[in-house]
Amino acid sequence: MNINVTLVIQMVVFFAVIWFTMKYIWPQILGAMEEREKKIADGLAAGDRAEKELNQAKAKVETLITEAKEQASHIKDQATQMATKIKDQAKSDALAEKERQLHAAKAEIEQEANRAKEALRQQVSALAIAGTEQLLSKEVDAAKHADLLDDLIKEI
């Protein structure tokens, strides 16, 4: 139980151990701990921020959707109106076209009829002349009796 040089040796070793701990153990481990603490804090802060941003984005999306819906219904209304207009226009155009074509057809028919009448008249007059020629047994001078023939044609 004597106090001897062991005490001094122990003291020296003690200081060496403290020095080593101070230099090579404590800062490394505590540093890692503090770094992790900071990381976690940052992570949590980032999480909070992200949540806030998410909420903001959601709200923004909400308004955008509402706006878009409004716009869409507006466009739909416009489109319906336009469609009705176009339909009406087409209807009236079609009616007008129908009218026009009807007129044109009528005119053509009339023209055709007149032309047929004319041809018929000429044929009848030729027939009349031929008939008369036969009746008179002599040739009628077409030139001489042009007036007469014309009268005849008119009568027909």
Partner: protein, 287 residues
Amino acid sequence: MASGEGGAGGYIEHHLVNHTTQLVEDNSFWTMNTDSVFYTILLAILYIWFFRRVAKKASAGVPSRTQNFLELIIGFIDAQVKDIFHGNSKVVAPLALSIFIWVFLMNFMDLIPVDLLPWLGTLVGIDYMRVVPSTDLNITFGLSFGVMLLVFYYSFTVKKPFALGYFKEFATHPFESPNLLVQMILAIPNIFLNIVETVAKPVSLGLRLFGNMYAGELIFILIAVLTLNYGAADLFSVGGGIMTVSQFLLALVWALFHILIITLQAYIFMMLSIVYLNMAHEQHDSH
């Protein structure tokens, strides 16, 4: 197991005598307690190796199991130091960690069966040794005086002006008075009290640890004496059987209880060191 030459007394003595090496012939101071020095350095190396291994690859990412465990200890000690120590020093926290782990390991040697290491020692020709370094007064005083040296160092450098601040505090605390004359008279008890306190600090610090560990080890040895000199035949006789069972139970209970003591003593040593160092860092306002 134990050599029966001296009976119980011899057995106990055997376990409590240091194996010494005389560095200088016939000089009681220059005698080294080889066993204490060996085990204390071995444990210091164990501590440093274990912690350094983790510190080298300590990462801020997901910690390994070992790192997690060490972080638990370090976080705990860091909290204690921040709680008690208000100065600004890079030394105190590592010092607290060193003390806590190292003293714990020294105390832990107590839980190793009392005869195991000495028996291993006899195999290599060492016929007796003391395995628990903290049952050696030299070791505990080595630690407490080391702490005290740091306390003096910080007392001298932190309390301004250099050294004088410390001595001034010596004379003006704990009793103080605004009256200069009264203060001068009070200086006498102040100085007396402070001298006592200054001496008491390292002595009590070292003795407390030593006393607890020495007593604990002694009880382990006394428990082991129960079946001293028993042969294999005795163990199976009625009386021998009872003794063997009771030795087992006593040793078990004491060991379980001792787990608490060794941790507590390491903790107390660490806390008091922090407290003393904190006192060294406090600058009292001058009156």
